[in-house]
Amino acid sequence: MTVNQAYKKPKDKGKASKIVFNTLIYTMLAVWALIVLFPFYWMLLSSVKSYAAYSVEYIPKFFTLSPTLKNYADAFTAVPLGRYFGNTVIFTLLTTALMLVVTTLAAYAFARIDFKGKNVVFSLFLALMMIPNELVIITNFVTVTDLNLRNTFAGLILPSVASIFYIYLLKENFEQIPDELYRAAKIDGTTDFGYLMKVMIPVCRPTLITIVILKIIECWNSYVWPRLITDNEAYYLVSNGIQEIRENGFGRENIPAMMAAVVVISLPLIILFLIFRNKIMEGVSRGGTKG
């Protein structure tokens, strides 16, 4: 009897406190979710308000009864948003493709070939990971200027091709492939390069996809280097484009059109995220950094 009571009492008390506790937690989580989502809501909302309606709202309204898509039309006609967008797509695709080739070859060498000094070279690679971008960007700016590559895609792309972290990630994955596969392929007369293409790459596809997505996010959001290296609007990427729009675009007052541009710029990555949610979050937690 005493045992039963001793068990029952805290349990009942625990139930009530658990409800209070859960309510508190859900409230807190919901508040933060609202803070995260609100800017997105606000940009969508502002982007469908007409300019006339927006300008007379001394106190901004939380909804609109007459949504319009005119701002989106303006965003593509009044400023060259389409071109910024196209530039960013080209930049992102080329950088990612080149990065993939360089990364795969290097990761293969580290994972599969036993050469003298491998550990030393690999350690040197890892040491370079600690070098902050800010330190090397100055000389890169001078180099690219000297090579007359300012305002070209080559100048934009080349410095961001090599990513040591991705080499590291892929090398680790390549090393997990059992040696037996390699020996079997050798007996079949497959060349090393053939083995890389036909076995290693297909086996490690999940890691490769993660790398590609992380690189796409990085490219789409890159701002500092493109800003340094382009002053011709024909080569602006979206980040620079949105700054240009802010300063000289629609006229400072036309916030709705500006917000339409912001929505257009943000949308591709949000869609990518919603499709590859798990891959992205897993990839980032394995070693992405931001902040």
Binding site: L29, M43, P60, P132, T139, V224, E247, L272
Partner: protein
Amino acid sequence: MKHKGLKAFLYLLPAILFLGVFMVYPLVDVIIYSFEEGYNSASQTFFGVGFYNYSYILHDPYFLQALKNTFIIVIITVPVSTLLSLIISLGLSSIKPLRKLFQTIYFLPYVTNTLAVGLVFMILFKKTAYTDGLVNAVIKLFGAQAIDFIDGPYWAKMFVMCFYTVWVVLPFKILILTSALASVKDDYYKAAKLDGTPRFRVFTHITLPMISPMIFYLVITGFIGAFKAYSDEVAIFGTDLNAAGMNTVVGYIYDMLYGDSGGYPSYASAAAVVLFIIVFTITVINLMISRKKVFY
């Protein structure tokens, strides 16, 4: 063996070329730049070697302002974002329904273009002739005076800056901490429950020690990231950060390099080296503390 070495070299060649040209060479070069006095980028000449560039930037009011701003951003955002992400992650890991949804929402800022979303923050906080903006409307609701957060007093601007920075960095921290919390073995919690250990004691004696390595990882990367603050500032205050009084060290480096105030790679290099020394020192201190305090 020799054959293998050549082959490995060929596979590594593209990576070595790219890293050599755009990382190793610049690293050496930036240090040389920083000591070349009176460097002229048009004629590529200089007339001396010494510490003048360092002394110049350390006496430049713009640099000192940038240094002050950067330190304030670091001191405020690193503890706030770490603590906030810890609270949110603890909340997340103690619920089941809706958890995935919350996690997805919280991660959104990570995949957005900070330059673009910064504009939304600017509009929410900005006060203009024809509207006070949403935040000010709320402030007025509570009977206080409207403040211009974008062109107004220093601390109002700093508040927006830190708020936006926390908003941007939190997704990464929440993600790391929720996976750290998920990896704490259930056995420990079960044992604690059997002993009837109070919730708070479970937190301080089990949860916190188990995730302490990850917290320190976040503190270290947080320091490094916050010291490099720049794009978020541009997103809110525009490209002329000196005029807004909100420049950061990285912003100062780029201003010296390029733009209306640019053309001084030597000053930029000296500032970059100073930044690197600060970040390096703080990282070493962090590592030393973590070695003493962190439970592995």
